[in-house]
C-alpha cells in the first residue's frame, strides 16, 4: 500500500482509511443486496419494494429507540421483527395473487408498493433529516494509526453474521431446503409436500427483516435518517447484479466491490477524473455493472439461464 501511495496523490494512511470506508459502505450495500437475493432466489421476483422495507426499517428503529425510548439493540431487534411482519403482510395481501405472473407485472407491483410505502413514511415522519442518535456515532477504534469508526465495524459485522446465517440456513435448516427446492422447481417441490405458500411468505418476511437491519446501518450517523434512503437502496442493484442475482455470497462480494469502487472514485476523481464531472461516484456503480454485464450477462456468480426449445 505504502509503496503505491507515492504514485497516487494520497498518503498511505488515507488510502487504507478509504479502503476500510469502502468496505463498510460495501457491506451496507451487501445487506440490501442480500434482501434482494433472498426474494429472487425463492420467487424469481426483483423486489423493488425492498427499498421501502429499508426505509421503513430505519424509521421503525428510530421510532422504537427515540420516540418510545427503548434500548437501542432491542429497538433494532423489534424493527427487524416489524420488517418480518411487514414482508409477510404484503405477501399475503398483494404478492400472493401474482404468483406465476410475468416478471413485468410483479416488478411493477413492487414498484407501486415502493411508491406507496416511501410516501407514507414521509407522511408519518416528515421529510427532514433526523438523527437516529445511535451509540456508535463518533467513537472510533484506532488500529496502527488508522481510524475505524465504530459503526463501520458494526455494519461489517452485521453483514458477516447475516451472510453466515443465510449460508447455514439454506444449507442445514429444513425451511432453507424447502426454499431451495421451491426456487428450483415449484411444482416438483409441491409434489414433495412442501408448502409453497409458507415458503413464499417466510421469504418475504426474511427480506423485510434483513432490509430493516440494512436500513438501520444506513441511518446511523448524524442526520442520515431521511426519506431518500429508499432510493439509495436502489444503488444496491448493481451490487446484486454484479454478484449474480441468486447467489448470497455473490451479493456480498458485489456489494463490497461496489462500495470500494465508489469510495475510491470519490477519493481519486477530483485528481484524476476531472472529465467525469462532479461526484462521479454516484454513477460509477452503474458503469461497473454495465461493463460486467456485457462480459458476463449473468453476473459474476449467477446461474446462467438455460433456454430449452
Amino acid at each position: 500500500m505504502s509503496a503505491l501511495a507515492p504514485v497516487l496523490a494520497v498518503t498511505g494512511t488515507e488510502l487504507v482509511q478509504n479502503l476500510i470506508g469502502g468496505l463498510a459502505l460495501g457491506s451496507k450495500y451487501a445487506l440490501i443486496a442480500l434482501g434482494f437475493v433472498v426474494v429472487f432466489r425463492a420467487t424469481g421476483v426483483i423486489n423493488f419494494a425492498n427499498g421501502a422495507f429499508v426505509l421503513v426499517g430505519a424509521y421503525m428503529t428510530y421510532q422504537f429507540f427515540q420516540t418510545w425510548e427503548l434500548n437501542f439493540y432491542l429497538a433494532i431487534v423489534l424493527s427487524m421483527i416489524f420488517g418480518f411482519l411487514l414482508g409477510i403482510v404484503l405477501e399475503a395481501i398483494v404478492l400472493r395473487r401474482l404468483v406465476g405472473e410475468a416478471p413485468f407485472t410483479v416488478i411493477m407491483v413492487t414498484i407501486g408498493l415502493l411508491f406507496i410505502l416511501d410516501n407514507l413514511v414521509t407522511a408519518i415522519w416528515g421529510a427532514s433529516n433526523l438523527n437516529l442518535g445511535d451509540p456508535w456515532t463518533g467513537s472510533v477504534v484506532e488500529v496502527a494509526g488508522v481510524q475505524v469508526p465504530h459503526r463501520d465495524l458494526w455494519a461489517m459485522g452485521f453483514t458477516g453474521v447475516v451472510l453466515c446465517g443465510f449460508l447455514l440456513f439454506f444449507r442445514y435448516s429444513s425451511m432453507g431446503l424447502a426454499m431451495r427446492a421451491t426456487a428450483m422447481d415449484p411444482e416438483a417441490a409441491l409434489a414433495q409436500g412442501i408448502s409453497a405458500r409458507t415458503v413464499y411468505r417466510v421469504t418475504w418476511g426474511i427480506a423485510g427483516l434483513v432490509a430493516a437491519l440494512a436500513g438501520t446501518t444506513f441511518a446511523t450517523g448524524t442526520g442520515n435518517l431521511q426519506p431518500g434512503l429508499g432510493l439509495l437502496a436502489l444503488a444496491a442493484f448493481p451490487a446484486m447484479i454484479l454478484g449474480g442475482m441468486d447467489s448470497p455470497l455473490g451479493a456480498v462480494l458485489g456489494g463490497l466491490i461496489i462500495g470500494l469502487v465508489q469510495q475510491l472514485t470519490q477519493l481519486l476523481a477530483p485528481e484524476y477524473m476531472e472529465w467525469a464531472g462532479r461526484s462521479p461516484e454516484i454513477v460509477v456503480p452503474y458503469v461497473v455493472m454495465i461493463v460486467i454485464l456485457l462480459v458476463r450477462p449473468y453476473g459474476l456468480f449467477g446461474t446462467p439461464e438455460v433456454r430449452r426449445v
Partner: protein, 382 residues
C-alpha cells in the same frame, strides 16, 4: 396479392353486409373497420377544433397539452414494452434528451422547428440503436436494471454537460422557433384570428399525437409490428420462425426512443424549461403507469392512460384546498395536512399500478373492449 392496406372498409362497391364481416386478413388489419370508427374520427376532429376555441380556459388547455405530450411518450413506450415486451425504466432519459435537444438546437442555436424536431427524433433513433443491443444480451430482470441505470447515467450527464444542458440549474427555453410552413405555433394566426399560446400549443401537440398514433398503428400492423409481437409472445419461437431478433429488438428501442425524444421536445416547448431533476425514476414510472392503466399493447390505451394519470394529478392539484381533500393534503408548511400534493400523487400512483395489475391487468382499454363486445354480440353473451 395486394400489399397495400386500405385504411377504410369495403362498401364503396355497394352490396354492404349488415355488419362489417371480417373475411380475410386485410379486413382484420383495417384501422377504421366500420362506419362507427369514422363517426368517432369526425367527433375527435370536432373536439380538436371546438375545445381550444370555445370551451376551455388557458389552464385547462395547458393540462390538455400536457396530456398530449405524455400520450406521445407513452405511445413510444408502448411500442417497446407493450408490443415488443422489453421492459424499460429508462424512458425518462430519452424524454430528457429530447427536451435538451429542443433547448440547445431550438432555443440556443435557433434551428427551425422542422429541422430540430426530426433531429431530436434522429438522436432518439441513434440512442435506441446504442441501447438496443443490451436487450439482445440481457433478458427480463437484467434489462430492467440496466435501463434503470440509464436514468442515473443520464442524470449525471445532464448535470455535468453544462455547455449544453445548463448543469443542475437547468436551462430556459426562450424563442425557439415553432413554425410549420406558414403556421407559427408560438401564437397562431389563422383566417384573421389570432390564437393564444395555449391554444396554439394545443393544436400543435394534438396534431402530433394524431401523427404519432397513426404512425404507431401503422407500424404495429406492418411486418415489423408483427415481428415485435412475436418477440413479445415468445422470443424463442419468433426466432425459430425466422424473425430477426436483433433487428426487431433494436428497431423497437429505436422507434420508442424516437417517440420519447419528440415528446421531450414538445414538453420542453410547453414548460419552456428543462432541468435534470425532471427526468428521474418518477417520470419513467409515470410512463409505465400510463401504459398499464391505459392498456398494455394498445395505441389508444396510451392516450387514455395519459388522460387518466395526468388528469387525476391535475384534479388533486386543483382540489387540494377543497373540503374533501383539504384535511388530507397540506399545501404548504403552514397548512395542517397529512400528505403533500406530490406525496398523495405518488401514493395514488402506486395504488393505481398495484390495483390495475391485480384487478384489470389489461387496463382501461380492456373495459372498452368488453363493452364493445357486449354491444356487438347483444343479446348473446359470446
Amino acid at each position: 396479392m395486394r400489399t397495400l392496406l386500405t385504411p377504410f372498409g369495403r362498401g364503396r362497391s355497394g352490396g354492404r353486409p349488415s355488419r362489417n364481416l371480417v373475411l380475410d386478413y386485410r379486413d382484420d388489419l383495417r384501422i377504421f373497420p366500420d362506419r362507427w370508427a369514422r363517426v368517432g374520427l369526425l367527433l375527435l376532429a370536432f373536439l380538436y377544433i371546438y375545445l381550444p376555441t370555445q370551451q376551455v380556459s388557458d389552464a385547462g388547455l395547458r393540462t390538455l397539452s400536457t396530456i398530449g405530450v405524455f400520450a406521445i411518450g407513452a405511445i413510444g413506450l408502448n411500442l417497446l414494452t407493450g408490443y415488443t415486451g422489453q421492459v424499460s425504466l429508462g424512458h425518462a432519459f430519452f424524454i430528457g434528451v429530447g427536451s435538451y435537444t429542443a433547448a440547445y438546437l431550438g432555443a440556443e442555436m435557433g434551428w427551425p422547428f422542422l429541422v430540430y424536431v426530426p433531429a431530436a427524433a434522429l438522436i432518439g433513433v441513434g440512442l435506441g440503436v446504442v441501447i438496443g443491443p443490451f436487450a439482445l444480451r440481457l433478458r427480463g430482470h437484467y434489462l430492467v436494471i440496466v435501463t434503470l441505470g440509464l436514468i442515473f447515467l443520464g442524470r449525471h450527464i445532464f448535470n455535468n454537460w453544462t455547455s449544453v444542458t445548463g448543469g443542475n440549474r437547468g436551462t430556459q427555453i426562450r424563442g425557439a422557433d415553432m413554425s410549420v410552413g406558414p403556421l407559427d405555433f408560438s401564437g397562431l394566426e389563422l383566417f384573421g384570428t389570432t390564437y393564444s399560446r395555449e391554444q396554439s400549443m394545443f393544436f400543435l401537440v394534438w396534431a402530433m399525437v394524431a401523427i404519432a398514433a397513426l404512425l404507431a398503428k401503422n407500424l404495429v400492423r406492418s411486418r415489423m409490428g408483427r415481428a415485435m409481437q412475436a418477440v413479445r409472445d415468445r422470443d424463442l419461437s419468433a426466432e425459430i420462425i425466422g424473425v430477426d431478433l436483433a433487428r426487431t429488438k433494436v428497431g423497437a428501442f429505436a422507434w420508442s426512443s424516437a417517440f420519447a425524444c419528440v415528446a421531450g421536445v414538445l414538453s420542453a416547448l410547453q414548460i419552456r424549461f428543462a432541468g435534470p431533476d425532471d427526468f428521474g425514476l418518477f417520470l419513467s414510472i409515470t410512463y409505465v403507469a400510463i401504459i398499464i392503466i391505459g392498456g398494455v399493447g394498445t395505441i389508444f390505451g396510451a392516450i387514455v392512460g395519459s388522460i387518466f394519470v395526468v388528469g387525476s394529478e391535475e384534479l388533486i392539484n386543483e382540489n387540494s384546498r377543497s373540503d374533501w381533500l383539504g384535511p388530507l393534503v397540506s399545501t404548504g408548511p403552514t397548512d395542517s395536512g397529512w400528505l403533500s400534493v406530490g406525496e398523495l400523487n405518488a401514493v395514488l400512483f402506486g395504488a393505481f399500478i398495484v390495483g390495475f395489475l391485480l384487478f384489470e391487468p389489461r387496463g382501461l382499454a380492456a373495459l372498452w373492449f368488453r363493452a364493445k363486445a357486449w354491444f356487438l354480440t347483444w343479446p348473446f353473451s359470446y
